[in-house]
């Protein structure tokens, strides 16, 4: 068990497969940066693999102060037993106060194994992380600067904020595509800390006999935020505004059938009866009139913002926020508001 300490670093597990970092890890670095700055401690990326030191540069650009690098031939492919053994030891050695993992298939396999071994708390699939205080009325104690781990629970019917105050590290997995992707800063450099790894063949519990991985497709279903454009967007060129807004929210671009037929974007992004059905936390409909066939694919969204210059567009009947106006004005305003975190 790791004792509570306030000097502990903030760690992000830098997940890589075949020498390529997962987007989620880079997104997590931006959140990690924010948390580390609030706590006034360093942000470290924890990188495991074989011959992956090239990635340290990128991790620095994306906000890491330090990269804790563990390289070993047996770490070439992700495996629960070898990766958890190495990270368990690193946690015991460095005593970080926060460890974050992407809620990827590997992250959700690895983090609970580590939590069990180091006897720490773990919150799955967080959609937001903050630093805050927690008061225990019974003992009249206030625990300061804890990691507030915010996640939907109960099939999305409640938002729970989870904390752990008496055991470190505070650990969480974070949903993919929830945190905005940071802008890399090529002038930033991370200090690389090389760790010695002791692993033998017996540390690989299982044997990978065959594997087939496809390039990641657009996963609209897994997106927490979707910005969808319709025919009203006007042109493929103007559709870039949809991409920009989606990008700054860490979301995915979607489209109506009309927009796909007009060639603004490819069919993988189509939402509606003949496309994908989605239930994101936030759905932003831009230049979409709201035909029933489109509504069928997005009506389950928790919050809907509709932007259209026709006040009578049917999309407004299902929207929580109605903005009557020109998308060319409104979308840049939204990007500005999000970037400034008003």
């Amino acid at each position: 068990m790791i004792e509570v300490n306030k000097q502990g670093q903030v760690w992000v597990f830098a997940e890589q497969h075949k020498g390529k970092l997962e987007d989620t890890s880079l997104e997590l670095l931006s959140k990690g940066r924010e948390l580390a700055d609030t706590l006034n401690v360093p942000l470290a990326a924890v990188l495991l693999g074989d011959n992956v030191s090239d990635l340290c540069l990128q991790l620095g650009h994306y906000g890491a102060d330090k990269v804790i690098l563990a390289e070993h031939p047996l770490l070439e492919h992700y495996q629960t037993s070898s990766y958890s053994k190495v990270i368990d030891d690193l946690i015991a050695k460095h005593k970080p106060q926060i460890v974050l993992y992407g809620a990827t298939p590997a992250g959700r396999d690895l983090a609970p194994r580590i939590a069990s071994a180091v006897k720490a708390g773990l919150t799955a699939d967080c959609t937001d992380l903050q630093i805050g205080n927690h008061e225990v009325k019974k003992t009249n104690t206030t625990y300061e600067n804890l990691l507030l781990q915010i996640r939907p629970a109960f099939g999305g019917n409640i938002i729970a904020t989870i904390i752990n105050y008496d055991r470190w590290p505070q650990m969480a997995t974070v949903r993919e595509g929830v945190m905005p992707m940071p802008e890399p800063d090529a002038t930033r450099k991370a200090e690389v800390i090389k760790e010695t790894v002791h692993l033998t063949q017996t540390d690989l519990a299982i044997e990978i006999l065959a594997e087939h991985m496809e390039a990641k497709k657009v996963d609209l279903k897994a997106s927490r935020v979707i910005v969808a454009g319709g025919a009203g967007v006007g042109s493929a060129d103007n559709f870039k505004k949809i991409w920009d807004l989606a990008h700054c929210l860490g979301g995915s671009p979607g489209a109506t059938r009309a927009a796909v037929d007009l060639g603004f974007i490819n069919h993988d992004h189509q939402i509606g009866q003949t496309g994908t059905t989605v239930r994101p936390s936030l759905y932003i409909a831009v230049g979409i009139s709201g035909a029933i066939q489109h509504q069928a694919g997005m009506i389950g969204s928790q919050k809907i913002i509709a932007i259209n210059n026709d006040p009578k567009a049917p999309i407004f009947d299902v929207a929580h926020y109605k903005i009557v106006g020109d998308l060319n004005d409104v979308v840049p305003m939204m990007i500005k508001a999000i970037k400034e975190k008003v």
Partner: protein, 295 residues
């Protein structure tokens, strides 16, 4: 040959049918107000165990942790084909998070000495997918998550196919091992009506004690014995029987605590008019950040 399979199952509230009444004033969930169901992916885990038994022989045990009313899922496990059922129940289990739960379950699993431990990938009330891997760690066994298909079984090893979302992997693991099973793995069988009627009578000791309180004619020991002979006594284990270390159970054994719960059950459809000005857009984005719609 034959394999000793232990399937961990959970009784969960049907989160697809939640109404406003399901929440207590203090923000906790009023489980009593919700229909309780067999966690869907645990049914896939049970089906995989039953297939192994059909093909290779062996024993299938369903285990759950919960209040005595959680025996509903155990009866369901029995009529779908499990050979025996275990209820882990103890007041001191209350407020266990995933870490404490996996510790308690690991104590129960050890008593059963299985070759293969199976559970659903995740439960629909929490969606954490943590208990499987944590249980595997507590048992010091290999874990194989996201199992979609059984490829082959040898005496001391198992080969399965895992679905990783954007691809798959075929892996071989020594036994015993812990498997977490996906909903796409199989189509769970429906129990036979005759079996279902028979298993309705299955009870744990606490349930019989509750009936005896109402009815003086019932002798608890004799009733338990009679049920046991028919294979209908649900084993009831407490933390003393499991020889569990209490510091790892219940609230004490749970590092995570709830700081706050916000209900997002939506009221009737409310549309807010937002002015197409920077100030209007700013206040909307502010609201969305406040309610955690965006991070």
């Amino acid at each position: 040959m034959g394999y000793n399979c232990v399937v961990l199952v959970k009784q969960v509230p049907d989160t697809k049918r939640i109404t406003g009444q399901a929440m207590n004033d203090d923000g906790t969930v009023n489980r009593a107000a919700l229909p309780a169901i067999f966690n869907p992916e645990d049914l896939n885990a049970l089906e995989l165990a039953l297939k192994i038994k059909d093909e290779f022989g062996g024993v299938v045990t369903v285990v759950t942790m919960g209040l005595p009313n959680a025996t509903g899922v155990l009866r369901e496990g029995l009529y779908r084909g499990a050979d025996q059922a275990v209820l882990v129940t103890d007041r001191r289990c209350a407020a266990s998070d995933t870490l404490a739960t996996s510790y308690i379950l690991s104590c129960a699993v050890k008593k059963l000495n299985p070759d293969i431990v199976l559970c659903g990938r995740q439960a629909i009330d929490g969606d954490t997918a943590q208990v499987g891997p944590q249980l595997a760690e507590k048992l010091e066994l290999p874990q194989i998550t996201y199992v979609e298909d059984l490829v082959s079984l040898e005496e001391t090893s198992i080969k399965v196919k895992r679905n990783l979302g954007n691809g798959w992997q075929e892996v071989k693991s020594p036994l015993p091992a812990v498997l977490t099973v996906l909903d796409t793995a199989n189509e769970p069988r429906v129990g036979r009506a005759k079996q279902m009627m028979k298993c309705k009578a299955a009870k744990c000791r606490m349930e019989i004690e509750a009936i005896a309180k109402e009815d003086d004619c019932i002798d608890v020991d004799a009733t338990c014995e009679a049920l046991d002979e028919k294979g209908l006594l649900i084993k009831q284990w407490d933390l003393d029987f499991l020889e569990a270390d209490l510091q790892w159970c219940g609230r004490d054994g749970s590092p995570t605590k709830v700081h706050r719960i916000q209900s997002v059950v939506l009221a009737a459809m409310d549309t807010k008019d937002v002015e197409a000005t920077q100030a209007g857009v700013d206040s909307m984005i502010h609201e969305l950040i406040q309610d955690h719609t965006i991070g």
